[in-house]
Symmetry: C2
Subunit: 237 residues, 2 copies
DNA sequence: CGCTATGTTGATCCATATCAATAAGTGTGG
DNA sequence: CCACACTTATTGATATGGATCAACATAGCG
């Protein structure tokens, strides 16, 4: 968990994020100079819900699980892949985190002091615009997630999840699950046991699974069952 | 459904919204001149999910139900009370609405062309800052709603809803439900039948209901069951 | 006053959670 | 490199939260 200043080598990848791509050079440098990079082993809790938001986090490599707890229960809310930021809203509002975060694997995380972000936001119109765009995007993502939860059964959620993953893969018919089933179950709002059975229940629609390798023999058949909807499933819209 | 230009009499109430309070005078006047006000009867569908976002909506009086549908099912996502805006994220991103909206009662709605909002956003830093704050707030609200859905049973959601409502009322022990049970059920993610039974199930914790009038005899007892959490239930945090 | 939508209650069904046992990985230290 | 421990995945049995269906009561409204 070595703590380093921000090496210049990571500037370009951060610069490529929509959030920073249009920021004025001097603002960007100021932000980067105040920031630093840390390497974390797997399963390290980076932040805890309720804590005050001291840093905007940027995942440079690895992956991060955002989760929440209540009354002894826990649920996965989202997964953050490189290169993207998380807990922007808390940073902006200077409010406590609503979610906890832990590394899923060995990960490199950039930490930008929240105060610097708020200062840059006031100073740079382009940055402000980028933040608005990012927040609006995030908001819409959560609304879609909520529609998914309230309007669909767990089997329907799984079917649509598989269709969505398939879209991102090169191959039309097969791909690998991006994370362990235990977490997938939590993300989809079900128990691991129920997920296991849900995979079997999708067999009549041409879904077969072995380990974390998925094969979809008849995409149209699965679609007829899943009824994917861009207003729930498409990340872009 | 009379269609009028924006009467100057409503400027002050709109001006008081966080979203507009800091906007420069000339920007504000430009926004208002392009806007207009409509009076709607109850149960009129104002916007439909999937449509393009031509106007930012502001509820001046009455109330509006935001809901979504999929595969013949429908669910209430949120309720908008005066004076506040809705579908800001779609307006900003110039993306299709993710939710539909209908009036619950006779309502006055101000409509500000989305393009004007986007122009004002670019021209006025204060407005941009206000939009960011509003979006961050909205984002956090939906995250809380999602935690509520994924971490709690329907009975627990109802109990916490009642505690939240009680906070807003003057009286410690009794208050009226703010909308019909049918919708409350949908908001809480359950059926009307289940809600009916849930109210009864809360009787052992001192909750009694008659019509839409609620009495809570022992707040502490109910709290012990509901386990309210500021990171789920408080609108402010 | 009667119509229509809402709310309640009961009976039943279904989806999903829980509990338990086993199997299969996965990583660790000897 | 293997044995052990520990976590994850699967499967079966069962329990339960919540939905559905149906009947009836009730309340608002034209």
């Amino acid at each position: 968990m070595a703590r380093l200043g921000m090496p210049e080598s990571v500037y370009p990848e951060i610069r490529e994020l929509h959030l920073f791509s249009e920021v004025a050079d001097d603002q960007f440098m100021t932000l980067m100079r105040g920031a630093y990079v840390q390497n974390f082993p797997p399963r390290i809790e980076l932040i805890t819900e309720g804590d005050s938001s001291d840093f905007l986090h940027i995942v440079l490599s690895g992956s991060v699980d955002l989760f929440s707890t209540w009354n002894g229960r826990e649920t996965s809310m989202a997964t953050v892949w490189p290169v993207s930021t998380f807990i922007l809203a808390a940073t902006i509002k200077d409010a406590p985190y609503l979610m906890s975060a832990r590394t899923l694997e060995k990960s490199r995380i950039a930490l930008v002091p929240s105060q610097d972000v708020r200062i840059a936001f006031d100073a740079d119109q382009c940055f402000a615009r980028a933040i608005v765009s990012e927040l609006a995007q995030s908001y819409r993502s959560v609304i879609k997630a909520q529609k998914n939860l309230k309007l669909r059964s767990s089997l329907e959620r799984l079917a649509n999840y598989l269709l969505q993953q398939q879209k991102h893969s090169d191959d039309v018919t097969e791909f690998d699950l991006r994370f362990e089933k235990r977490r997938l179950a939590s993300v989809l709002g079900m128990t691991p046991e129920n997920l296991s059975r849900a995979f079997k229940a999708l067999r009549p629609y041409g879904v077969s699974i072995e380990g974390n390798h998925i094969e979809i023999s008849d995409l149209e058949d699965l679609k007829r069952f899943a009824k994917p909807d861009p207003l729930i499933d498409d990340p872009e819209t």
